[in-house]
C-alpha cells in the first residue's frame, strides 16, 4: 500500500543563522521519504507562510535556536490564521527549554522537538500530525 508522501517546509525564521540543526533534520526527513523544502536563512514569517501556501505543504516546521521561539510561534500562528491556513500543522525544533514545551503546545504547536531528539521520533511525530 503506497503511503502518501508528506510535504514539509523547514523554515529558519528570523536572524539566527545556526542552521546545522535545520539542515541535519531536513536531510533526515528526506531520507525518511518526505518531500522537504528548506527555506534557507533569514526568512521572515511572511515569506515562510507564503512559501507554505504556494507549495501546498502538509506540515510547517521551524528551527529556532535564538530563544525567541515563543513570540515567533505566536506570530506564525496569527499569520497562518489570517491567511486561512491554520489547519496546516506546525512543528518546532531547536534550543527549547523543557518548561516552554507545554506553552508551545497550548498555543497550538503540534510537535516540539528540542535539540537531540532522535530522528525517528521527529519523523514519527511529523507523520502523526500530517494526516
Amino acid at each position: 500500500m503506497a503511503e502518501k508522501i508528506i510535504k514539509i517546509i523547514v523554515g529558519k525564521p528570523g536572524l539566527d543563522g545556526h542552521d546545522r540543526g535545520a539542515k541535519v533534520v531536513a536531510l533526515a526527513l528526506r531520507d525518511a521519504g518526505m518531500e522537504v523544502i528548506y527555506t534557507g536563512l533569514h526568512r521572515t514569517l511572511e515569506q515562510i507562510v507564503a512559501a507554505a501556501v504556494q507549495e501546498a505543504v502538509d506540515v510547517i516546521g521551524l528551527s529556532i535556536m535564538s530563544g525567541a521561539h515563543l513570540p515567533i510561534c505566536r506570530r506564525l500562528l496569527d499569520l497562518m490564521a489570517s491567511e486561512g491556513i491554520q489547519d496546516i500543522p506546525v512543528v518546532v525544533g531547536g534550543v527549547i527549554p523543557k518548561q516552554d514545551v507545554a506553552e508551545l503546545k497550548k498555543m497550538g504547536i503540534q510537535g516540539v522537538f528540542p535539540g537531540g531528539t532522535p530522528f525517528e521520533e521527529i519523523v514519527a511525530g511529523i507523520r502523526a500530525v500530517a494526516v
Binding site: 529558519k12 528570523g14 536572524l15 539566527d16 543563522g17 545556526h18 542552521d19 546545522r20 539542515k23 541535519v24 531536513a26 536531510l27 533526515a28 528526506r30 522537504v36 528548506y38 534557507g40 536563512l41 533569514h42 521572515t44 535564538s66 530563544g67 525567541a68 513570540p71 515567533i72 534550543v95 527549554p97 523543557k98 518548561q99 528540542p114 535539540g115 537531540g116 532522535p118 530522528f119 525517528e120
Partner: protein, 544 residues
C-alpha cells in the same frame, strides 16, 4: 571515545580505531613508525620558539606567560554588559570577548520592525557609539584586548571601537581589538552574512588594510575554523578550510599593494578543541607548522613573528550535551587540557549550560576557574610541549599534516574558497557529514556518555538555571536610540553617510568613512543600509 569510530569484538576489546580526519590508529607505536613517516626533529619540530613552531611559538611556552582567558560575554543592554565585563576582569580574565545580539550582527537597529523580539537576546545590542561609551566605560582599553564577535558588519564595529577609544583618550595605536571579521566562515556555518561573496571579502580586506596603517595593535581578522567544525567539518577540514579562507583574504589585501609581511602577522585564528584528545593535539601542532611553512614558502613571509599561528583554541560547544548537563563541566575540563597540551595561547570554554541558554554568571565563572586550575594547580605550565617525541603523537602529527594538505587540495581544485563557498560545495559537504555524525550518535556508532550510554538518571536530570530574557531591555534600548536620533547632529550624520556611500561605490577603503560616521553617532543600521544599497545581499546557493 566519542567522535572516533571504534570497531570492537564481542568481548568489548577494541579491534580498530579510525579518527574523524580518516587516520587509522594502531595499538602501539615505536621508533619504526617515526621512520616510516620520515620524522625529522629539525625539519618537523625544531626547538620551541623556532621555525616551524610545531612545538610552541615561544621558547618558554607557558613558563613565560600563562594563556589568556577570554570567555564570551555580553548580553542585554550595554550597561549590563559593562557590569559583566568588570566582573570578569575582577575575576582575573585578561581579555574581553564581546557577544552582540543578532540585530547588531545583521546590521539592523534595535527599533527596526524586522528584529522584534531579538534585541539584546543573544548578546549586547549596539546601535551607535553611545552604546560603546556605556559598554566600555572604565575599561582600560590600552591594557585589555577585546574580541568583537561580529562578522558581516565587523568593519563598522572596528570603526566604532576606534571612535570610543578616541573619546576616552586612548590613542589609536594603543588599542587592541580583534573583530572576528571572517565572513566566509559565516557563509559555511553560523549564517550571519549580509552581502554577496565578493563585496563581503572586500570589506574584510578594507579592515585589514586600514588596521595595518592606523591600528597596529589590532588583529583585524580572526579566521574561524571553530564554526566550520561546529557545522560538521572534520578536524583536518577545519584547519584546511581555515587556511584556504586565510589565503583568500591574503590575496584580497595583496591586491591593494601590500606585502604579506606587512599584514599577515595581524591575522589570528579561532579554532575548535572538540573531539578525540590526541587528534586535537596533533591537529594544532600540525597547523602551527603548516601555517608557518605556507607563509614562508608560498607568500615569501620572512619575519619570524609573522609566521606565528596565533589565536584562540576554544572548547567546542558541539561536544557538550543537553542530557546530564553537569557532565559538560568534566568534558570542558578535558577540552581545556587538550588546548593546554597543544600550546594554546588564548583560550575559552563553552559553559556547561550552553545547550540550554546563554551562560549564567555562575556557569561562566566555572569555565574560567577550570582554565585557571589547569595553569595554576595541575602543572601544565611546567615544560613546553610535553608530548614532543612521543612515537604516537609525532606520527599522528605528520599524518594530520597530510590530511590537512589533502583537504586544501580539494578546495584548490574547485578554484579556491571564494568559489567553493559561492557554489555551496563546502556547505553541502559539512552538512552531509553533520547528518551522518548525528545518525552515528543515534544508532550508537559514536559513544556519547549520558546520551547513548550510561543514560541512567537522565530522567531526573537537574534543570539548569536559565538566563532570563528581560523584555524591558529592548524597550530601554529603543528609547535610548530614539532619544539619540533627536539630539545628535543629524546633518553631520547625513553628510557622513553620504560620504560612505560615495566611498563604497568608488571602491575606496570604507574604514575612514565608517569612523567618521561613528564619531557623529550614525547608527549601525544606517551604515549597514548604505552598504546594502551599494552591495546588495547574498543569495545562498541551494545545497539540497
Amino acid at each position: 571515545m566519542g567522535v572516533a569510530r571504534y570497531i570492537k569484538d564481542e568481548k568489548d576489546a577494541i579491534r580498530d580505531v579510525v579518527y574523524q580526519s580518516g587516520i587509522r590508529i594502531k595499538p602501539s607505536y615505536s621508533p619504526r613508525d617515526l621512520e616510516e613517516v620520515g620524522f625529522d626533529y629539525a625539519k618537523d619540530l625544531g626547538d620551541p620558539g623556532e621555525y616551524p613552531f610545531t612545538r610552541s611559538l615561544h621558547p618558554l611556552g607557558y613558563r613565560s606567560r600563562a594563556w589568556t582567558t577570554r570567555q564570551y560575554t555580553g548580553f542585554g543592554t550595554p550597561a549590563e554588559t559593562n557590569q559583566r565585563f568588570k566582573l570578569m576582569i575582577s575575576h582575573g580574565q585578561t581579555g574581553l570577548n564581546v557577544a552582540f545580539d543578532l540585530p547588531t550582527q545583521m546590521g539592523y537597529d534595535s527599533d527596526d520592525p524586522r528584529v522584534a523580539g531579538e534585541v539584546g537576546r543573544v548578546g549586547m545590542a549596539v546601535d551607535s557609539l553611545r552604546d560603546f561609551e556605556i559598554a566600555f566605560k572604565d575599561i582600560p582599553l590600552d591594557r585589555i584586548g577585546s574580541g568583537l564577535t561580529i562578522n558581516a558588519v565587523a568593519c563598522i564595529m572596528l570603526a566604532m571601537y576606534q571612535a570610543v577609544a578616541e573619546k576616552f583618550g586612548y590613542p589609536a595605536e594603543t588599542i587592541s581589538a580583534t573583530p572576528q571579521n571572517d565572513i566566509l566562515k559565516e557563509m559555511i556555518g553560523r549564517g550571519a552574512w549580509i552581502f554577496p561573496v565578493d563585496p563581503a571579502v572586500r570589506l574584510v580586506g578594507d579592515a585589514v588594510e586600514y588596521a595595518v596603517r592606523e591600528l597596529p595593535r589590532c588583529n583585524p581578522v580572526s579566521i574561524c575554523g571553530y564554526h566550520i567544525r561546529e557545522s560538521g567539518a572534520t578536524p583536518a577540514q577545519e584547519i584546511a578550510y581555515a587556511f584556504e579562507i586565510a589565503k583568500t583574504y591574503i590575496a584580497e589585501v595583496q591586491d591593494r599593494g601590500l606585502q604579506p609581511d606587512e599584514f599577515v602577522g595581524s591575522f589570528s585564528f579561532n579554532l575548535n578543541v572538540y573531539g578525540n584528545l590526541w587528534e586535537q593535539i596533533a591537529k594544532f601542532r600540525a597547523a602551527r607548522k603548516l601555517w608557518a611553512r605556507m607563509l614562508k614558502e608560498e607568500f615569501g613571509v620572512t619575519q619570524k613573528k609573522n609566521l606565528f599561528l596565533r589565536g584562540l583554541f576554544g572548547g567546542g560547544g558541539s561536544g557538550l550535551t543537553k542530557a546530564q548537563p553537569e557532565n559538560n563541566i568534566m568534558r570542558s575540563a578535558f577540552y581545556a587540557m587538550a588546548a593546554a597540551l597543544s600550546g594554546a595561547q588564548t583560550t575559552a570554554l563553552c559553559s556547561f549550560d550552553e545547550a540550554y541558554t546563554i551562560p549564567t554568571p555562575r556557569a561562566a565563572l566555572l569555565s574560567l576557574r577550570t582554565l585557571e586550575l589547569l595553569m595554576d594547580e595541575v602543572g601544565l605550565r611546567d615544560t613546553v610541549d610535553p608530548l614532543a617525541g612521543s612515537y604516537f603523537i609525532e606520527t599522528l602529527t605528520k599524518q594530520m599534516e597530510d590530511r590537512i594538505l589533502a583537504e586544501m587540495a580539494d578546495v584548490q581544485q574547485i578554484g579556491g574558497m571564494r568559489r567553493a563557498v559561492a557554489l555551496g560545495h563546502i556547505q553541502r559537504k559539512v552538512s552531509r557529514q553533520a547528518y551522518e555524525f548525528e545518525r552515528g550518535i543515534q544508532n550508537g556508532d559514536y559513544i556519547k556518555v549520558g546520551v547513548n550510554k550510561y543514560t541512567e538518571g537522565v530522567e531526573d536530570q537537574p534543570d539548569v538555571e536559565l538566563h532570563a530574557y528581560d523584555e524591558s531591555w529592548a524597550v530601554q534600548q529603543i528609547d535610548g536610540l530614539r532619544e539619540l536620533r533627536r539630539v545628535r547632529d543629524n546633518r553631520a550624520v547625513s553628510r557622513t553617510l553620504n560620504d560612505l556611500e560615495q566611498g563604497a561605490r568608488s571602491g575606496r577603503n570604507v574604514m575612514p568613512f565608517l569612523v567618521d560616521c561613528c564619531r557623529v553617532y550614525a547608527t549601525v543600521g544606517e551604515m549597514a543600509e548604505v552598504l546594502r544599497q551599494v552591495f546588495g545581499e547574498w543569495e545562498e546557493p541551494s545545497i539540497f
